[in-house]
C-alpha cells in the first residue's frame, strides 16, 4: 500500500512541477480577453503549417488588440462550440466569419461589419449538378450553426433536398467530394478562396445577399471590448492596414502561393513519416495534453471513487444512500452530456467561467469516479461477511476491521477493475475534444482540417493511443505485481 501511495505522489509531484513550469507569463498591465474562433474557415481562420492560427480574422483581431492595447487569447474551439461558449460566458468574444443575422442579434452584440459576404453553392467539378433545380431528392452538406445551414434549410422544401450537418468545414467539403452529398452551401468568401487554393469544388450559384461578418460579444456585456474593436477596426481601415490584410489572404498572389504551398505540402506529406514530421510539434503537444488529462483524472477519479465507494459500505443508511445516488447519477449520464453541462451549462447558470481543462477534469472525475465507486463497493462486498464478523467479534472497531482485514482483501479483488478503469479514462479524454481541449483527438481533427488526410492522420492518432495504453497497462501490471508480492 505504502509503495503505491509513494509512486502516485511521485507521479503527481512530477505533474505539478511540469504544470508550474509551463505556466505562461501574463503581463499584468494589459487586459486579456479570451476570443473564441473556428478551427478551419479559410481565409478567415485556419492553422498554418506551424500550427499557428492565421487568416483575415486572426490578423484583424491581433492588429486591433495591438492598436488598442489589450491582449487577445485565441481559442480555436470550432464554430459551434465557440458560439455556445460565448452565450454561456466562457469566452469574451467570437471572431469566426460570423454573419450578422437578426436571430444572432437576440443573443449577441455585433461590431460594425468587417467583411461583406453571401452564401454560394458548391458541387463536385465532374458532377451533373448545375444549379438549385438539380438538387431534388439529393443530400446537401452544411456546417452546424452557420448562415449557409440556415439558408439551405430555408430553401430545402422549395427545391426538395435534404440537409446533413457536420461540425467542421472539411467534413462538409469531403462529403461533397466523395459523392455522399450532391452539394454544399457556405460563405462565398470561404468557398471562393477554397476554389482558388485547390479545394477541388466548383461554385455554381451567385452569392445571396445575406449580410456581413461581425465580431460578437454576449449581449449587453463586454462593452469595453466591443468599443475597442470598433475603434481599432476604424483605425486599421483608415491607415490601409485593413486592405493589406484582405489582400494578403485573398489577392491573386496570395492564393496562388497558398495553392502551390498546399500542393507541395501534400506531396511531402503523402507518406506517414512525412505527415508525422510535418505535424510533429502539434502531435507532441496533443500527446502531452492527453497524458496530463489522463494522469490528473485518474488521480482525482480514484480518490473520489474510493471515497464514494467506502461511503457505500458504511453502516449508516444515509451514507449508503448518498453513495448509491451519486453512482446512479454520474454513471447514468453520457460523458458527452456531462462535459457540455459542466463547461457550457453550469457557467450560464452561475455566471462564473470554468476553464476547459478544469471542466474536463471535473467531468472525468465524476464519471470515471462513479464507475470506480461502483467496483470499490462491489469489491468490499465481495469479501466474505465472516471476515468482518470475526474482526468485530475480537473487539476491533468497524474502521480498524475495514482497514486491516477487509480493504486489503477487497483491493486485490478490485485491481483488475482499476487497471481497466485507467485505460477507459485515457480513452475517454478524447471526448473532451468537444469542449475545445487541444488533446490528441482535437489535434487530429485540426490537422485533418488543414490537410484533409483523414485516413492517415486517424491511423497515426489511433496508433499513438495504442502505444500510450500499452505503456499504461504495463505500468499498472507492474504495480499489481508489487501489491500482490
Amino acid at each position: 500500500m505504502k509503495k503505491i501511495i509513494a509512486l502516485m505522489s511521485c507521479v503527481f509531484g512530477l505533474f505539478v512541477f511540469v504544470n508550474i513550469y509551463h505556466e505562461p507569463q501574463v503581463n499584468a498591465a494589459e487586459k486579456t480577453y479570451t476570443i473564441g474562433t473556428d478551427v478551419t474557415f479559410p481565409p478567415f481562420v485556419y492553422a498554418n503549417s506551424d500550427n499557428k492560427y492565421v487568416g483575415i480574422d486572426m490578423d484583424l483581431i491581433r492588429a486591433i488588440a495591438k492598436k488598442e492595447g489589450f491582449k487577445a487569447e485565441i481559442k480555436p474551439l470550432g464554430f459551434n462550440a465557440a458560439v455556445q461558449s460565448l452565450s454561456s460566458g466562457q469566452i469574451d468574444g467570437v471572431i469566426a466569419g460570423m454573419t450578422i443575422t437578426d436571430e444572432r442579434r437576440q443573443k449577441f452584440d455585433f461590431s460594425t461589419p468587417y467583411y461583406k459576404s453571401g452564401i454560394v453553392m458548391a458541387v463536385a467539378p465532374k458532377g451533373d449538378i448545375k444549379g438549385l433545380k438539380d438538387l431534388k431528392g439529393k443530400r446537401v452538406a452544411v456546417k452546424t450553426g452557420t448562415a449557409g445551414a440556415t439558408y439551405a434549410n430555408s430553401i430545402k422544401d422549395r427545391y426538395g433536398f435534404k440537409t446533413v450537418t457536420f461540425d467542421d468545414s472539411d467534413n462538409v467539403y469531403n462529403d461533397v467530394k466523395n459523392g455522399n452529398s450532391a452539394a454544399c452551401f457556405d460563405d462565398s468568401a470561404v468557398l471562393n478562396y477554397g476554389v482558388k487554393t485547390g479545394l477541388g469544388l466548383k461554385i455554381v450559384t451567385k452569392p445571396t445577399d445575406i449580410g456581413s461578418y461581425g465580431f460578437a460579444v454576449e449581449k449587453g456585456k463586454n462593452k469595453e471590448l466591443m468599443s475597442k474593436f470598433n475603434s481599432g477596426l476604424k483605425k486599421l481601415k483608415a491607415n490601409g492596414e485593413y486592405a493589406k490584410i484582405i489582400e494578403k489572404y485573398t489577392g491573386e498572389s496570395a492564393t496562388a502561393a497558398q495553392k502551390k504551398n498546399s500542393t507541395q505540402a501534400n506531396a511531402e506529406g503523402h507518406t506517414f513519416f512525412g505527415l508525422i514530421k510535418q505535424n510533429r510539434d502539434s502531435i507532441i503537444d496533443g500527446i502531452f495534453e492527453t497524458i496530463k488529462l489522463t494522469v490528473v483524472s485518474i488521480i482525482c477519479a480514484t480518490i473520489f471513487g474510493v471515497l464514494i465507494g467506502l461511503l457505500g459500505v458504511l453502516p449508516s443508511k444515509l451514507a449508503r444512500g448518498t453513495s448509491t445516488t451519486i453512482i446512479y447519477i454520474f454513471r447514468g449520464l453520457p460523458l458527452l452530456v456531462l462535459a457540455l453541462f459542466i463547461y457550457n451549462g453550469v457557467p450560464s447558470l452561475t455566471g462564473s467561467k470554468v476553464p476547459a481543462f478544469v471542466a474536463g477534469i471535473i467531468t472525468l472525475t465524476l464519471n470515471e469516479g462513479a464507475y470506480t465507486a461502483a467496483f470499490v463497493k462491489g469489491g468490499i462486498q465481495a469479501v466474505d461477511t465472516g471476515q468482518m464478523e470475526a474482526a468485530r467479534s475480537l473487539g476491533l472497531p468497524f474502521g480498524k476491521s475495514m482497514r486491516k482485514v477487509i480493504l486489503p482483501q477487497g483491493i486485490k479483488i478490485m485491481i483488475p477493475s482499476f487497471i481497466n478503469q485507467f485505460i477507459i479514462t485515457l480513452k475517454d479524454t478524447s471526448i473532451l475534444s468537444i469542449i475545445g481541449i487541444l488533446e490528441l483527438t482535437q489535434t487530429g481533427k485540426i490537422i485533418i482540417a488543414r490537410n484533409l488526410e483523414g485516413f492517415k492522420i486517424w491511423t497515426i492518432i489511433a496508433l499513438i493511443y495504442l502505444i500510450i495504453i500499452t505503456v499504461l497497462t504495463l505500468l499498472s501490471k507492474w504495480v499489481e505485481r508489487r501489491i500482490n508480492d
Binding site: E389, S393, L394, G395, L396, K404, V405
Partner: protein, 246 residues
C-alpha cells in the same frame, strides 16, 4: 450459588416476519460449560450471536458481567474484547499469516506490544499444537488446523467467556477430534463456554449443563445425564433418538 456470568431475559429476535427467537430466558454461571443442542433452525446460533451482538435482539436483554449487551449505549467493542467467538467456517483473516491472525487484535487494541504479541501468539499456537504454522498463510491449512488457529486467535484477547458456533460442523471427521481436544483442555482450565454443537459425545463428556432448543424456545435443560438419559420433553426425545441412532 455460583456467580452469574450471562443472563438472557425474554430475548426475541425477528428476521422480518420470521420469528427465530420467541422469548428465551437463559443463564450461564462463571466457569460453566453450557452446550446448546437442537434441530437446525431452532435458533441456537442466533441465540449465540445475540450474546456478542453480531445480531441485534428485537427485544429482551442480554447481560454479561453486568454489561447490558443489548443496550445500544453500551460500548460493544469493549464488551466484545472479553467475549471470544469461534465460527463454523473459521473466518481466519485470509490476508494475514497465522501468527498475524493471532496478534492483530491485541496489538491494534493496545493490549500488547508487537513483541509481547509475538511471544503470546507462539505460546497459544503451541497449546493448540500448531507452533510450526506461525508463518503459514491460512489457505495452506487443513480445516482442523484453521479451527485451532481460530481458537488461538479468540484466546489472544484473553477473554473470560468463549462462544463456539458449530465449531466442528465444517470439518472432515478425522479433524474433529483435534479441535474437540483443544476445547476440552479449555474447559478443564475453567473457561466459561457456550457451545452450539451436534457432537453429542462432547456434550456428554464436557458439558456442565445441556440446553435443548426447538422452534425458538428452550424446551428442556439440565445436566447431561438427565437430558440424555431421561429426557422429559417429547421434542427432546424425538431429536435425541434421531441423532443418537444415526
Amino acid at each position: 450459588m455460583k456467580n452469574t456470568k450471562v443472563k438472557v431475559t425474554n430475548l426475541k429476535k425477528n428476521f422480518g416476519s420470521n420469528h427465530v427467537l420467541k422469548g428465551i430466558d437463559f443463564e450461564v454461571a462463571q466457569n460453566e460449560v453450557v452446550v446448546l443442542i437442537g434441530p437446525s433452525g431452532s435458533g441456537k446460533s442466533t441465540l449465540l450471536r445475540c450474546l456478542n451482538r453480531l445480531e441485534d435482539p428485537t427485544s429482551g436483554s442480554v447481560v454479561i458481567d453486568g454489561n447490558d449487551i443489548s443496550d445500544s449505549k453500551t460500548n460493544i467493542d469493549q464488551a466484545r474484547e472479553n467475549i471470544g467467538m469461534v465460527f463454523q467456517h473459521f473466518n481466519l483473516f485470509n490476508n494475514l499469516t497465522v501468527g498475524q491472525n493471532v496478534e492483530l487484535a491485541p496489538v491494534e487494541l493496545g493490549k500488547l506490544s508487537k513483541s509481547e504479541a509475538v511471544t503470546m501468539a507462539k505460546k497459544l499456537l503451541d497449546t493448540v499444537g500448531l507452533d510450526d504454522k506461525y508463518d503459514a498463510m491460512p489457505q495452506s491449512l487443513s480445516g482442523g488446523q484453521k479451527q485451532r488457529v481460530a481458537i488461538a486467535r479468540a484466546l489472544a484477547m484473553n477473554p473470560d467467556i468463549m462462544l463456539f458456533d458449530e465449531p466442528t460442523s465444517a470439518l472432515d471427521p478425522e479433524m474433529v477430534g483435534d479441535v474437540l481436544e483443544v476445547m476440552k483442555d479449555l474447559a478443564k482450565k475453567g473457561m466459561t463456554m457456550v457451545v452450539v454443537t451436534h457432537e453429542m459425545g462432547f456434550a456428554k463428556e464436557v458439558a456442565d449443563r445441556v440446553v435443548f432448543m426447538a422452534d425458538g424456545k428452550v424446551m428442556e435443560e439440565g445436566k447431561p445425564e438427565e437430558v440424555f438419559g431421561n429426557p422429559q420433553n417429547e421434542r427432546t426425545k424425538t431429536f435425541l433418538q434421531k441423532v443418537i441412532n444415526v
